[in-house]
């Protein structure tokens, strides 16, 4: 049980990372690949937050008196993830705009059919 307790979050994070990578590597539809990128991002963010967790910790906010600083979780990964979330949505938005233009040019989102340029 304690093993489950310790690794449930990690399992979730890495499950997302691998499903995301799998989607990116195998799917042919561009929008699907971008969905995969989003899942990958979420997994990485969850992983980073897991790194900062302290057992039985509290959120690092001194919103009322009497909170024990010793029990607070590490704030650094949270700050990093805030940054990573915004970067992730920026990349997704740019990718979607490219997908729209690609569709206007080719009439398809199938990456196998969009192969004008070869090696």
């Amino acid at each position: 049980m304690s093993l489950l307790n310790n690794y449930a979050y990690y399992a979730g994070a890495f499950g997302l990372i691998f499903i995301g990578l799998y989607v990116i590597l195998t799917k042919r539809n561009l929008i699907k690949v971008i969905v995969g990128l989003g899942i990958l991002d979420t997994g990485v963010n969850l992983f980073l937050i897991c790194l900062g967790y302290t057992s039985k910790g509290t959120a690092p906010i001194f919103s009322r008196a009497g909170l024990d600083a010793e029990l607070m979780v590490d704030p650094v990964p949270q700050a990093l993830v805030l940054t990573a979330i915004v970067i992730g949505v920026a990349v997704l938005a740019l990718a979607l705009s490219l997908a729209i233009r690609l569709y206007q040019h080719y009439g398809t989102l199938d990456l196998r059919k969009i192969r004008e340029q070869r090696w």
Binding site: A8, K32, I39, L82, I85, A93, I100
Partner: protein, 79 residues
């Protein structure tokens, strides 16, 4: 608590798998938004309320919205 977490993780992974197998892209995007939403609950359980808010508003809501807009401007079904 541990059961709740395990259930949420399982649900999240199911959502991710669903996002990868759905042929209908709108369904896939909704499944991916569910993944983000559950991830934001997990962030909250991991004592990161700031991140949970950001993930719920940016990751789940806005990302899903721009995906749906992009899909309406392209095609809905994966061949």
């Amino acid at each position: 608590m541990i059961l709740l977490v395990s259930f949420l993780v399982l649900l999240m992974l199911t959502g991710a798998v669903a996002a990868s197998v759905f042929r209908d892209l709108i369904s896939a995007v909704i499944a991916a938004a569910m993944v983000s939403l559950i991830a934001s609950i997990l962030f909250y359980l991991l004592q990161a309320p700031d991140v949970a808010m950001a993930e719920a508003s940016i990751g789940a809501a806005l990302t899903a919205a721009i995906f749906v807009v992009a899909i309406t401007r392209t095609e809905r079904f994966e061949e």
